[in-house]
């Protein structure tokens, strides 16, 4: 053991101490290097990993824009509702709970059991879009495996009154028809998302970043006047019912701004509960359907002749004997009138007179006028399914076709196009551009006729609603009205149906300084009367009177009582 004791005094080799020191230094160097590496190079990755433990991405909902009328009243609003869904495998509910769930959802109990019993599927909707209060009560039942999600549902307070203009949205709140579809891109909201830090109780304690800003849809203010729309729809519906007609449509335009103040169709539907809807109800006839306008086109024939200087309002046209045979076709007047002035041709709505005027015109001129009036091309409103109508190329017109086109056969237009064409007479020769959106100011038009011609035709149109004209029933007490009736045979199977008509009336008021153009179309009135002056003109008068009063348009006629037309006084029209 001496050696052990002696070794205390042995001097250790110096390298051993240095070796230990070097090892320690190397160890520290590795640690330092590693920490530098973590702190600098890997830091983004590690921080991301760390944040993922407590940060969450939240969805920020966005609402669809509202649709308002020109006075700011709501026509369509989205409001949150709940959709109830379930994971069938996880559902554990007592029969008692299932019963109350079925009654809360307004579902048949068998149907509910069938949906929950479908364990093949991981996800079933039990009921979509229930009111939030009902959703809260469903949540209060506390059935495991039954969940809810928030969705938006569109409500239309106006119901069927505004159905065709507004259209509707689908279950996912995206536009499917009408204005909802036409202005989808601006109405639609874009949901956003943001990253937040949540504490252990699930409360949001800090905002880290906004990944995408939620953008609510923009509100859309239409040109529509809620009161006028309601008045127009009511009057139209009543007339369609009283005349047992198949359908009807009405358009009211502001002559100065070209705004669509009212647009309604019958039959309509309730956009808030769209079950069992068919094509006829959904069709927005005023915009998407075309028809042969009949005599409402005569003023344009006369305007073309006046413009070319072929006739003056006082030129006498011989319409005797009320028939005009061309090739194998005979044009007839319902009430043969003998010799009459051009103004009387419009007043009495003589087919023979209009045909004779047209035959004196170059067909290219007529065609060019129709095109300038916007016939044969969609009105560019941006509305889905706008019809352009049909105007055939001038070089294909035979004389008989040119003659029938003079009184509105062999050409097809939509009611909206027809109403717009009449703004030419309301604005002293300018065609107003149409808009569904409120502009609230006069719009610059496109000149189609000279002011002189337009005013001359307007004076003739005023005669048509006087006693002795075709539409004394279109008159409105206190204001001068001008307008034209139309009664066209309906086309069927390539020919004209004998006893099916489309009655129409297009007019403007007040005649001294026109503010409004209203067009009415009644499809197949079948309660005995079918002349435009008897079926469509009263609707026009009713709506026009209400509209003039609503817009506070000053009177331009004495307020004398209007004698109701007797049977003999009302001139029957031919087409």
């Amino acid at each position: 053991m001496n050696t052990a004791a002696a070794s205390i005094y042995v001097r250790l080799p110096a390298w051993r101490a240095r070796f230990v020191l070097a090892v320690l230094v190397a160890g520290f160097a590795v640690l330092a290097g590693r920490s530098v590496h973590l702190q600098t190079l890997d830091t983004a990755f590690l921080q991301g990993k760390g944040e993922a433990r407590y940060s969450r991405v939240l969805q920020v909902p966005a609402t669809r824009g509202r649709i308002l009328d020109r006075h700011g009243d709501a026509l369509a609003i989205s409001t949150p509702v709940k959709s109830v869904w379930a994971i069938p495998e996880d559902v554990k509910a007592s029969p008692e709970q299932l019963r109350s769930l079925a009654s809360l959802l307004g579902m048949d109990r068998g149907e509910l059991a069938r949906r929950i019993g479908d364990t093949e599927r991981d996800f079933v909707y039990l009921k979509r879009q229930i009111p939030p209060e009902a959703g809260d009560r469903v949540a209060a039942l506390g059935i495991p495996g039954v969940y809810q999600q928030r969705e938006f549902r569109r409500y239309y307070p106006g119901g069927e009154t505004t159905a065709h203009v507004l259209g509707f949205t689908g279950v996912d709140d995206a536009g499917q028809e009408g204005v909802e579809l036409a202005f989808e891109s601006s109405l639609r909201g874009t949901p956003g998302s943001r990253r937040v830090i949540k504490d252990r109780l699930g409360r949001v304690v800090e905002d880290i970043e906004s990944i995408r800003v939620a953008e609510d849809g923009r509100d859309l203010q239409l040109a529509l006047d809620g009161k006028l729309q309601s008045l127009a729809f009511g009057a139209l519906k009543e007339t369609v019912r009283a005349h047992r007609a198949r359908a009807g449509a009405i358009v009211a335009l502001d002559a100065r701004s070209g705004e669509v103040l009212a647009l309604a169709n019958v039959p309509a539907y309730n956009p808030n509960s769209r079950t069992g809807l068919g094509g006829p109800q959904l069709r927005n006839r005023a915009i998407t359907d075309t028809f042969e306008p009949g005599s409402t086109l005569k003023p344009f024939t006369v305007a073309a002749a006046l413009e070319l200087g072929r006739v003056t309002p006082q030129t006498v046209i011989d319409t005797a004997p009320g028939r005009l045979t061309m090739a194998s076709y005979t044009i007839r007047d319902a009430h043969p009138g003998g010799a009459m002035t051009v103004a009387q041709v419009i007043q009495k709505s003589s087919n023979v007179g209009a045909a004779k005027i047209a035959l004196a015109l170059p067909r290219e001129e007529m065609h060019a006028l129709y095109r300038r009036l916007g016939f044969g091309a969609a009105p560019q409103l941006g509305f889905p399914g706008e019809a352009g109508g049909r105007v055939r190329e001038a070089k294909t017109w035979r004389p008989i076709e040119q003659a029938t086109m003079a009184y509105g056969h062999g050409i097809s237009v939509s009611l909206l196009q027809l109403a717009r064409a009449y703004t030419v007479f309301a604005r002293d020769g300018e065609l107003a551009p149409l808009t569904l959106v409120k502009t609230g100011m006069p719009a610059a038009g496109r000149r189609v006729l000279s002011g002189e011609t337009a005013r001359a035709v307007r004076a003739m149109l005023e005669l048509a609603v006087q006693p002795g004209g075709t539409a004394p029933r279109a008159r409105v007490a206190g204001w001068r009205v001008a307008g034209k009736t139309g009664t066209a045979h309906k086309q069927e199977n390539g020919g004209y149906a004998a006893h099916k008509y489309i009655s129409s009336f297009v007019g403007l008021a007040p005649a001294s300084d026109p503010r409004l153009v209203i067009a009415v179309m009644i499809d197949e009135p079948s309660a005995g009367q079918y002349y435009g002056g008897a079926v469509a003109a009263p609707v026009f008068a009713q709506v026009m009177q209400g509209a003039l009063r609503l817009l506070a348009v000053p009177h331009d006629a004495p307020l004398e009582p209007i004698p109701l037309p007797g049977e003999g006084e009302e001139a029957g029209e031919s087409t």
Partner: protein
């Protein structure tokens, strides 16, 4: 030297506590902001629902029905209406 160190330590402690307090304060304010945001959303939704309700009660067809029915109102005969021009309009012309 030791005095300075002690002073610095105290300053450090004060800063640390201040940081904790302001962090806490920030979180409280943030929670409040979140609450108010949620309330704003709820009020917005309620506003929409009330607007909907107002439109439904104020439907023109309904107003017309009540006016003509239970209130017995009617539009005046056009002959009994006088249209008065506003003086402002006259001067403008």
């Amino acid at each position: 030297m030791a005095k300075l160190n002690l002073l610095l330590l105290l300053v450090l402690l004060a800063c640390a506590l201040g940081l904790v307090t302001s962090q806490h304060h920030q979180r409280k304010l943030f929670a409040e902001l979140e609450r108010e945001n949620a309330r704003a959303r709820e009020l917005d939704i309620e506003y929409g629902q009330l607007q909907l309700e107002a439109s439904t009660w104020g439907l023109h067809a309904r107003v017309a029905r009540i006016a003509a029915g239970s209130l017995g109102l009617a539009a005046p005969d056009p002959r009994r209406v006088r249209v008065v021009e506003l003086p402002a309009q006259e001067t403008a012309r």
